[in-house]
Amino acid sequence: MGPDIDASIALVAIAPFVAAALAPLIHRFTKPLSGWVLALVPAAIFVFLVTLIEPVLATGAIPARIGWVPAYGLDLSFFIDGLSLTFALTISGIGTLIVIYSGAYLAGHPHLGRFLAFLLAFMGAMLGLVLADNMLGLFVFWELTAITSFLLIGFDAVRAAARRGAIQALVITNIGGMALLAGVILVQQLTGTWELSELRGMEDAVRGHGLYGLVLACFIIAAFTKSAQFPLHFWLPNAMEAPTPVSAFLHSATMVQAGVYLLARATPWLGGTVAWTTILVCFGGVTLIWGALGSLRQTDLKQMLAQSTIASLGLLVLLIGLGTQTAIAGMVIYFVAHALYKAGLFMVVGAIDHEAGTREITALGGLSGKMPVTFAAAILAGLSMFGLPPAIAFFAKEEMYLNLLSPHWQDLSVLAVLIAGNALLAAVGALVVIKPFLGPAMPTPKSAHEASVGLLAGPVILGLAGIATALLVGWFGHTVLEPAATAILNEPVESHLTWAIDFTKPVVWLSVATWVLAGLVYRYATTIRTLLRRFETRLGWTADTVFDAVMFGLIRFSGSVTRVLHHGRLELYLVTVFSLMALALMVPLFALGGINALLPTAELGNWAAQLRWPHLAPYEWGVIILALAGLGAIVAAPNRLYSILALGVQGTAVALIFLLFGAPDLAFTQLMVEILSVVILALVMTRLNLDERDHRPFEDWARDGTLALVCGAGVSLLLMVVLSGTLDTRLSDFFIATSVPIAHGANIVNVILVDFRGFDTLGEISVLMAAGISIMVLLRSRRAPVAVGSPVPPAPIAPKIKPEPTQPARAAAAPSAKSTVKGRAKPAPKKPAPKKPAPKKPASEKQAPKSPSSVA
């Protein structure tokens, strides 16, 4: 295949995203026609894919590949075989109709452009998913469908129910997404390939491996979450909060079918084992019956369809689990039939809702006269859902019943489940089609009339397609069924679909039995609904409530963890940080024997002999004495400002030491940092209205002092250990040798900062800037309540304060600010000690801004 076909196949998945990006812009120009204009994109994709049918029939598969991350050997590879072509045609075909339908359904909606953008992006993700060959590509598109469907379900974001439905869908399907990622990576590790097409011959590498169970679990979780299998089905009905076009698209041919697609795709190398068959058949069967019963319980037309979708998904999973040729053939036909009729019915329901103003089945009736075309479309789709002969779904039923009439009890029980499920679904179909249109006319919130062309085009075309494929069933079997089933089973499958109905075969009578059962269910629908509802209230809980309980539990758990870790007491944060630092310093020193390098244990006894006075010049002694004096002053300082200044003295002494030992750059920087930190600390002190003195109780003082000593000792010991070894000078040699010739700079420190390690520096200055922004945020948020004229309610300690006559506002604000900063602020503000000159400093600073303004 040449690059042209590669590019155009990649374009199938990419073009919808481009269209999505442009959709709001296009909508601005084509307002009422947006749906029709934007539908050109999926329509073009559909036509392009139709031209690929012949080559796929001839060659079996068309690969396409464009470079993605060549450095890691990853390509964005696509792979079109019968299975992916069937899905892609369904997605793009129904997508075209849905886009047209959306334009009419949401006509005049202020965010229609955005909606169409989401819809097209979703379609692109879905097309990419079914066409992807690379499993990582598959995963990326899988997650993209989750994200775009989240946007679509939560489109009506002002309603809490829509938001909840969207979040629920995202949470559940993302659990599956994570499982898929794990499964995909496992498969790659087992087989050494990322390509799905290459996996076909490698079933032994997967099935025979000891980790097969884990791989199977990952893929099944992924598929079951996406395809809403029991007990993870509950997100699907809640996703009905989306506008109807979304439901029609997501729950017929796309989103929920992604799981079915994944299972079908994995069948050749993952399927066929006992575990596979058992799990898929059991869960599929339970989902089928559960969804069908759930559907009968509902009175909202859209909810009925949603629940019946769950049932249909269960049916598809069950058929994949059976894995026989007839079951897979039935699955392919049923997938196409279901996509056609379910999308059509959703659109019909949307049209009823749009024109009549309600979708409660009990409040609707006799619409056939007012909406004849809608009724016709509903009948066409309903024939399919009921599985009557002139519709393609009839053949699906025949195929799935075939070969199940055997003496094995497993086959017979599956057959019973299938008949029951199909009958229930058929009854639901009959209810949805007959109840709103026939019978006595009911008053509706809006006066119902026929829907517009945009609303009707979709259901009518889909309904006709359902009949047309049935009439051309031989062609359908050859061009769709055979390649798709062959791709799923990786062995040639022959279609034997014909119109010749042989009444001597039992299969026909099984179909008849299904219809009879469906008729009975339809007859007693109201009774069954009452019974089901009674059962539900008796049960008292649903998977939905379990989900809520789990989510609330998670939130409570994270809340309690946050309260423990994020208690808001600055002192304890600092204590935690420095305790950990002490541990990090001390534990390796002693546990890993670092201290031994310094002073072997054997010589511990005569440690005094190890002490030597260093030989230092008098001025060096002077600097060290200065540092020690600063240290002593910090501890002995009568108030905080003294401590801060003394800290500066000590730091300056350290800067001098750097200078003396040949690091002028470092000394220079250290000096500037010291100056600035003294200034900033002094400012912070006045700004926070801290007490001038340190009122720590003795136990806090002892704790903090011990921590300080341990940390200091740890750092010193660490440095001594480091210096006791031989220094590896390769790096410094390199820098000394190359600084001038390569980087044209004689100051090695600076050359390292801006050239050799420029990338590090870039990161550091970005962090510095981020830190600056966070400091500003902190200062602003602290300032906010004071700035608006102190509406702060008086703190409990307020009555004890005598407001100073000159600054009442500040006096009231000060204690409350103090209590937020320091957990246990003393009740009465201490008067500044009058004897020292220093305490005046902050006071005068506080008033400083006042005088310039008065002077100026």
């Binding site: 700004r687 044209h744 600076n750 050359v751 900062l753 420029g758 800037m769 400091i775 400083a848």
Partner: protein
């Protein structure tokens, strides 16, 4: 702090510090100095000026919000690294240009631009913090 002497002397000190900071920044490649130290000196100058007058006045004099200056610094440092893309080298590869202006050779380089970026980030960030701390309660930061 707001004595007449201090207020009179402050502009003199501040302007000297600012000029010195630029000097330190530019000489950094060959002698002790560099963008980081230069930025620290300039930020100290701003702190002094803020004490002598008021934070609002300093902000007016600066014309640009200090944090924007810092942001511009990050941008400058980053984009100086981008220049190497044009001659096909990896990000942050240095480019040197020796300009002959009136007989004396002036070396210009992307590391110099980078260092100026560092200077602006350090200066802008610290200046904004210092000014925020120095500003009055009701003032809009």
């Amino acid at each position: 702090m707001n004595t007449v002497i201090f207020r009179t002397i402050a502009p003199l000190i501040v302007s000297t510090m600012l000029v010195f900071s630029v000097y330190v920044c530019l000489r950094g490649h060959n002698e002790p100095g560099g963008g980081f130290i230069g930025g620290l000196i300039a930020a100290s100058a701003i702190a002094v000026l803020g004490m002598a007058s008021s934070a609002a006045e300093v902000r007016r004099a600066l014309r640009f919000d200090p944090l924007s200056i810092a942001g511009f610094g990050v941008l400058l440092a980053g984009s100086s690294g981008m220049l190497s893309i044009f001659n096909g080298n990896p990000f942050l590869t240095s480019i040197w240009l020796y300009l002959d202006i009136a007989g004396s050779v002036v070396p210009l380089s992307t590391p110099m631009l980078f260092d100026i970026g560092v200077y602006l980030v350090v200066f802008g960030t610290l200046a904004s913090v210092v000014l925020a701390l120095e500003s009055e309660d009701g003032e809009n930061l």
